[in-house]
């Protein structure tokens, strides 16, 4: 408090006050009622490059060209005569020839002597102007629309791009209208800090996709609130995104089409191959069965001729006959596999037909193989091709029997149970099924993965076409083949056939 009192004392000394005025960063001058300088602080003297003593008693007319001086004097007179405060930005021409942007404030005051004076100040705006120019250059060149919004949600300032976005000539009305459009559907906008994507269209402009960012309310030095909003045009990005999505969709479609094309090509090639194979097989069948016929007939003749002669060739003749049968079976399997022609389907009592087939086939299987038949179709009529389906049943039965075949002709099962085949039929989900289950050794997983491949076999004999023929026959009927197996328990082959098949060829034939 004592210090404060001391300063107060010092301020009463005019030399101190003058020293303070000389050290202010503002140029100060005082003119009398005739606009003649009566005081100039140091900075003012520096600005106009005159010593105070050269100024006192002089007016602007003494330093400037008459027309320039007249302009200054008009201002001075208005202040002195009408008492208005004159604030203007101007370029002060320095004595050095340089110019300096200044904010000049002139006001009238009445001195302690009762006389009227003009007190003027010049504030150097160089730094402020420099910054202002920087900000203006920034706001003019950024690819972002920027607006300052006041508390009434009116645009109080905006950059040129925001004006462009506003459309037309970018009037205040249009600027405010754009603000409304941007904020549509975003309640807190612009008062709450936020960032969102939106679209707007202005007459005569393409639809713009934009990202809008609001600073939320900020408080200005004078206590008023304002928000800064930025509008970033992302139409191009959106367009690129859309094009990108379209390209990837097209790519996907292309890949699908290529796959379809390849599938069709594969099918065509496969069909071509199957047709070739069919022709080849037919030729082989025809060409081999003729010599097989003469082998069989010749063996038969020999058997007759050596009968009762004690030559002991019965075993050899039997081998010849068995060889003929085996060759013939191979040919049959090849024919089955390569057959591509249309099925000859006719509705029939599947159960009744099946029991006949099983009975006939059972005679060819080892006698100690127990065969159980469980028919569950209740006389349901199902369309099927008897000769083809018989081939599938025979293949399944002989595969099962062979799976249980140990050394020689002895059947074996894993847990010593009697070897058994269960042939069953049942109906499920619009399909009938024929299932052949055995209690043999089961199918090893590595065999299971390949069992459907044509030419795959685990037997030391056979073509490896048996299972693929079953599958093919099921597929030709519009059905499928299921194979299940548990090691040590046995295997189940199930052929599913649709109860109703539309066979155009059949329909045409019937018509």
């Amino acid at each position: 408090m004592a210090e404060y009192m001391m300063s107060q004392d010092r301020l009463n000394d005019p030399r101190v006050l003058l020293a303070i005025l000389d050290n202010l960063p503002t140029s100060i001058f005082v003119k009398d009622a005739e606009a003649r300088f009566v005081y100039s602080n140091n900075l003012h003297c520096e600005m106009i490059d005159k010593a105070e003593k050269d100024l006192l008693g002089k007016s602007d007319a003494d330093f400037y060209a008459p027309e320039v001086a007249e302009g200054f004097l008009n201002h001075d007179r208005r202040v002195l005569e009408q008492g208005e405060v004159d604030i203007s930005e101007e370029m002060a021409a320095l004595q050095s020839g340089m110019t300096m942007p200044v904010l000049t404030r002139k006001a009238r005051m009445v001195g302690p002597d009762g006389k009227t004076y003009l007190i003027g100040t010049n504030t150097d705006l160089t730094e402020i102007k420099r910054r202002e120019e920087q900000y203006k250059a920034l706001s003019d060149t950024v690819p972002i629309g920027i607006a300052q919004v006041d508390e009434n949600k009116c645009v109080s300032f905006c950059n040129p791009l925001y004006k462009v976005y506003s459309g037309g000539d970018g009037t205040e009305e249009l600027q405010n209208a754009l603000l409304d459009k941007l904020g549509k559907g975003h309640g807190g906008f612009p008062g709450e800090a936020c960032k969102f994507e939106t679209e707007f269209s202005i007459l005569g402009q393409p639809l713009r996709s934009v990202i809008v960012i609001s600073s939320g309310w900020l408080t200005a030095a004078n206590g008023s609130r304002y928000a800064i909003i930025s509008v970033v045009d992302v139409s191009e990005m959106m367009e690129l995104r859309r094009i990108n999505a379209e390209v990837s969709r097209l790519n996907k479609e292309l890949a699908q089409n290529m796959k379809r094309l390849k599938d069709a090509q594969d099918e065509l090639v496969n069909k071509g191959r199957m047709e070739q194979l069919g022709q080849l097989t037919a030729t082989i069948a025809h060409e081999l069965r003729n010599p097989l016929g003469s082998v069989r007939t010749s063996a038969f003749l020999m058997e007759r001729k050596v009968k009762d002669k004690g030559l002991g060739v019965e075993v050899q003749l039997d081998r010849i006959n068995k060889g003929v049968v085996r060759c013939d079976n191979i040919i049959t399997q090849l024919l089955d596999f390569s057959r591509t022609k249309q099925l000859q389907c006719a509705p029939g009592d599947l159960d009744m037909w099946l029991s006949g087939v099983v009975e006939e086939e059972a005679r060819k299987l080892p006698a100690n193989l127990q065969i159980e038949v469980e028919l569950g179709l209740d006389g349901e009529f199902v369309p099927f091709d008897p000769s083809r389906l018989q081939r599938a049943i025979v293949n399944m039965m002989s595969n099962a029997a062979e799976a249980m075949m140990g050394a020689g002709e002895q059947l074996h099962t894993h847990d010593g149970e009697a070897p058994k085949l269960v042939v069953s039929t049942f109906q499920k989900d619009g399909h009938v099924s024929v299932r052949i289950a055995d209690n043999g050794p089961g199918i090893a997983p590595e065999v299971m993965t390949r069992i459907r491949e044509p030419l795959f076999t685990t037997k030391s004999f056979g073509t490896g076409l048996g299972v693929s023929a079953i599958e093919q026959i099921a597929a030709q009927h519009g059905g499928r083949l299921d194979i299940e197996s548990v090691i040590g328990k046995g295997s189940r082959f199930t052929v599913w056939l649709p109860i109703r098949t539309v066979n155009l060829a059949e329909d045409e034939k019937a018509a």
Partner: protein, 121 residues
Amino acid sequence: MSRKLNILVVDDDAANAESLAELFSMDDHRVIVAYDGQQAVEAFSLNKVDIGFFDVMMPNKNGVDSFIEIKGTHPDARVYFMTGFSADDLLERAVKGGALGVFSKPVDLQRLLDTVEKEAA
């Protein structure tokens, strides 16, 4: 006692034709052998044939065409077919044309002999 038959064996595979001929001969039937469809037609016109066993696929007229032709002149002709592998429509024509049956090759000889025996009875 069964009677002795005139049997026509038609097959372009000579070994087949001749071994079957020998088989039938052993049972004292008279056997005529033809090696293609055309010869079969001629054999029917030159001989009284009780029963024929025809191969299907042969040069110079296939077995079915030959059979249909023979049926024209000999409506009572009794013919079985033997085939290794033939187009189904061809066999269908044969059966529709009055063929008695189809043996698939290699022919089950017991069935064949049974058939002959029935004819001879």
